[in-house]
Amino acid sequence: MMRNFLAIAGIMTCTMQGCATSGPATNTAPIVDFSQRSTSYPESPEPRAAASLPAPTPAETALPDRHAAPAIESSMPTPHDAPAARTHAPIATHPAALALLNEAMRQEKSGELEIAAAKLERALRIEPRNPLLWHQLAALRLRQGQTQLAANLAQKSNSYVAANTDLAARNQRIIDRARER
């Protein structure tokens, strides 16, 4: 009896203070703290540079496949996505990994793809759980025509990133690309 009374009292207090509940379909975009997901050294004193998602690589936006598949790279959210549910938070990246990432992207542009891949693997040794690095490697393999490997790497990237993020969507595009073939 007493227990139930206290319970109801508690609930009423809670409601009056407007307790937030967790759950899907809210209006506020949850701020995903990527540093929690990609910590390599929890007590690092070094400041972490925020790496913005690079512009989609040509491999992701172009359609090099032979099938007449509809374009998927629209940046408009598909109907079932809540418009504000995607986060565009930059992914905190260790400066050393970032430096290698930038070099890799430069080398990718100049066509030295396997060298770029090696640089990304080096970056991953420094920051193994950075989803951006995995994604870049996936995009690179896609560009080399290794679609299955690209999709696998994209899935690996997804395992380090929340589902409702821009990066996850881009990973999904790569995964879908492999399924088509």
């Binding site: 227990r3 139930n4 206290l6 319970a7 109801i8 508690g10 609930i11 809670c14 509940t21 929690q36 997901r37 910590t39 390599s40 050294y41 929890p42 007590e43 690092s44 004193p45 070094e46 260790h94 400066p95 050393a96 970032l98 430096a99 290698l100 396997e114 060298i115 891949a117 090696a118 640089k119 693997e121 080096r122 991953l124 040794r125 420094i126 193994p128 759980r129 490697l137 490997l149 696998n152 790497l153 899935q155 690996k156 395992s159 380090y160 929340a162 589902a163």
Partner: protein, 774 residues
């Protein structure tokens, strides 16, 4: 009669003498022809051999290069060890590559230029500062610009030799320090550039000089002759051989220029012996004696090398220090006399130690790992290419981890052997350590004696895996989240059935007890055989086989119930591949020992890329890994925390096979996976459980190498729920004895345990309330 012949006839003596002279003349001409033909033969031998001589260069195998970056965990002591391994030496004012200076926690270092797969790394002078065993600052020494990353040249850990065990570090004449050439010519062949292959004058001069000096100060053979001797001929000291040598030396000089001959000599001259490996050439000798490249040697080192030329075993600087030092000083004297070094340099050099390293590093110090490297290379290269083209193999080995693993295996095996009063030297061990995300092999230990090049247990010991198989059974079940969760009750009761071979299979628990109804997680954490058997039979042995294959097991598996308790045998490497898929969240990646292969002059040849495939449901994997954490905290692995830090999150499985023949432990932290084994080669029972034997090795290794202490992030559709073990209902962290288990969202128990008291009631009512609005 012909006039000419007539005149001849008149000049000749008597017919008898005439015949005799003809004979002599004929013989002489004949002999001359033979000699000429022979000389021509030697000439062609010299030509073809020298021309066709491309020395067989064995492939060189390197460890992973050390890379420094701010925030990296590294102690100054470890850093110094790495520098020493690479042959870096301390200098008051570092000026050339390969030198460093330490001032407290700050190091000033100059790296060596190196070619890697992804580009050339220049020589960089930099400063690095440590604090609390972490790099806190890294900057360029001259510009003071902050550096993101610094990469060192990799440590050579071995070579892949051809059958005749030759090795070279080829040097071009232009690469050789001028002082070395000056010293060499001064001591061995002063008139090198003037003579034509042999120098009778210097032979005489040497003879008298030696007479005067009362010892052998100068050699009479020219450099050309010595080259011929080393190159072609055996070691006999006969007149016949000397004659051959002279002819061939002349022939060599006829075909090749002085510089070519000198360069050949610098690369060919025999300078030492390392077991079965012959040290030829100054490039290799520099590495062998001083652990450093030729261009980093000081005058006293150069003098010592030239001193050794006369007799590498007689003047072995490691075995005959006095003698070697005396001859070195002689060389220095000569250099001073000729004005090639000045008084001050000579004085300093005389006073300096020999500078020779204790043992030569890099000669297959890690044979077990090199075995794996060879395996992976064989798929892409012929044995011939490997042993003759001088390929550079860049591997994933981490020398610090390898040493720690070697030590841990050796120490624990000895310790346990003694404690259990086993015959000395029989108990064996093995270990494999990998980094998880990159699937890179960091260390491979083949036995208790790390230098032994024989049986590589990590790769070749096929042993019963016993309880190590269990996670595969539970993983199979948990993939069906509607039927099985972490708290699903299992019957830990006796069972018996007919195996595939017709025999009766009646397994027992380790403690020979039945535990009744137990929740699934407990059955795995405590490695109960009976509940595992029941569970396995429920999901079906074929499904478990599929899981094992998904995890990367390629060996044929017996499709019988006994498989559920590990009646199958794998090598430690195979177990590592299997557990790696768990540690990697359900992603299968083939373990790699090699990153890249370059040609002998640094051109990229092949890159071994990371390959990955998602083969298991990551939620089910997470749940299993979570239970394996419990196995280490409270289950069969709980004594592990006596060895490692209690704050380290570890998921692990002990493995004990039938009759205690094999002691296994497979465990991982956030970033590192290691599999260890202990047992007897003759397969007799070692009478050790996984926790008593292999797990101790594991603990030592991880404690020594350090590991990231963070714990795993659950996938999106997994939640961590506190459970009261008394009734397997929901609890919270304030309940005594509560455990936090992983569940796929929506499958956790909804009932609250009484231990939560009012908190539980509030939560329960709240959830009911919430449910009204959904």
């Amino acid at each position: 009669m012909h006039p000419w012949l007539g005149r001849l006839k008149r000049r000749l003596p008597s017919p008898a003498a005439r015949n005799w002279r003809w004979l002599l003349l004929g013989a002489g001409v004949f002999a001359g022809l033979i000699a000429w033909a022979y000389a021509a033969y030697l000439d062609s031998v010299v030509y073809t051999k020298f021309e066709g001589k491309r020395w067989s260069l064995p492939a060189r195998v390197y460890a992973r290069p050390l890379e420094l970056y701010p925030g990296m965990a590294l102690s100054p002591a470890q850093f110094i060890q790495e520098l020493r391994d690479l042959g870096f030496y301390e200098a008051p004012n570092p000026a050339i590559s390969g030198s460093y200076k330490r001032q407290g926690n700050v190091f000033h270092v100059i790296t060596r230029a190196t070619a890697f797969w992804d580009g050339k790394e220049p020589s960089i002078p930099f400063e690095v500062e440590f604090a609390d065993n972490i790099i806190v600052d890294l900057r360029h020494a001259t510009s003071s610009a902050a550096l993101d990353l610094v990469r060192f040249d990799p440590l050579q850990i071995g070579s892949i030799y051809p059958a005749h065990n030759e090795d070279r570090v080829l040097v071009k004449l232009s690469d050789v320090p001028p002082l070395l050439i000056k010293a060499l010519l001064a001591i061995e062949d002063r008139d090198f550039y003037q003579h034509h292959g042999v120098a009778p004058r210097s032979m005489f001069r040497a003879f008298f000089a030696n007479l005067r000096a009362g010892g052998t100060v100068q050699g009479g053979s020219t450099i050309t002759q010595q080259l011929v001797k080393n190159f072609f001929l055996s070691n006999e000291r006969t007149l016949w051989r000397k004659a051959n040598e002279i002819v061939m030396a002349l022939a060599l000089e006829r075909h090749y220029g002085k510089d070519e001959i000198l360069e050949g000599y610098l690369n060919e001259i025999y300078l030492g012996q390392d077991g079965t490996r012959a040290i030829h050439g100054f490039g290799l000798a520099s590495q062998f004696y001083f652990g450093r490249p030729l261009n980093e040697l000081r005058p006293e080192h150069v003098a010592l090398l030239v001193a050794i030329v006369k007799g590498p075993s007689l003047y072995d600087p490691r075995r005959h220090k006095q003698r070697a030092r005396q001859r070195r000083d002689l060389v220095l004297e000569t250099l001073l006399t000729l004005g090639d070094i000045n008084e001050a340099e000579a004085k300093r050099a005389h006073a300096a130690d020999l500078g020779v390293t204790k043992t030569a590093m890099g000669v297959n110090s890690f044979p077990a790992f090199i075995d794996i490297v060879r395996d992976q290379l064989k798929r892409d290269y012929h044995e011939d290419d490997l042993t003759s083209d001088g390929l550079q193999i860049f591997t994933t080995l981490d020398p610090a981890v390898q040493r720690a693993a070697d030590r841990a295996v050796a120490t624990r095996v000895q310790q346990i052997e003694k404690a259990k009063r086993m015959p000395v030297g029989r108990l064996q061990g093995a270990a494999v350590v990998v980094n998880i995300d990159g699937a890179e092999l960091l260390a491979v230990v083949g036995g208790r004696d790390p230098r032994f090049e024989g049986f590589n247990r990590a790769r070749d010991a096929v042993r019963q895996i016993g309880s190590l198989v269990k996670p595969a059974v539970y993983l199979t079940a948990l993939q069906d989240s509607q039927r099985f969760t972490a708290v699903t009750p299992l019957e830990d009761t006796a069972l018996s059935l007919k195996g595939g071979d017709g025999k009766l299979w009646a397994p027992e628990n380790y403690d020979h007890e039945e535990h009744g109804t137990v929740p699934l997680y407990k059955a795995l954490a405590h490695s109960y055989n009976l509940s595992t058997a029941h569970l396995g039979l429920e999901v079906g042995v074929p499904a478990v086989v599929k899981t094992l294959q998904a995890m990367g097991v390629t060996r044929p598996l017996p499709p019988y119930p006994s498989l559920l308790l590990g009646a199958t045998a794998l090598t430690p490497m195979e177990v590592t591949q299997m557990y790696h898929t768990l540690a990697n969240g359900g992603f299968r990646t083939p373990l790699r020992a090699i990153n890249a292969v370059l040609t002998s002059d640094g051109k990229p040849l092949q890159h071994y890329p990371l390959s990955i495939e998602k083969v298991l449901d990551s939620s089910a994997v997470y749940i299993v890994n979570n239970i394996l954490q419990d196995a280490v905290r409270e289950g069969t692995g709980r004594s592990l925390y006596n060895i490692i830090s209690p704050s380290l999150a570890v998921a692990g499985k002990t493995g004990t096979s039938n009759d205690l023949r094999d002691s296994w432990f497979a465990g991982f932290t956030r970033d590192r996976l290691a599999v260890t084994w202990m047992g007897l080669d003759d397969d007799r029972p070692a009478k050790l459980t996984g926790a008593e034997g292999a797990m101790k090795i594991w603990g030592d290794v991880i404690q020594q190498i350090g590991a990231q202490s963070g714990s795993w992030t659950p996938p999106d559709n997994v939640e961590l729920v506190w459970i009261d073990p008394d009734n397997n209902s929901r609890a919270d962290e304030y309940c005594a004895g509560a455990v936090q288990l992983a569940f796929m969202t929506g499958t956790a128990p909804t009932e609250y345990s009484p231990c939560t008291g009012i908190r539980g009631t509030v939560d329960q009512t709240f959830n009911w309330f919430k449910g009204l609005f959904q």
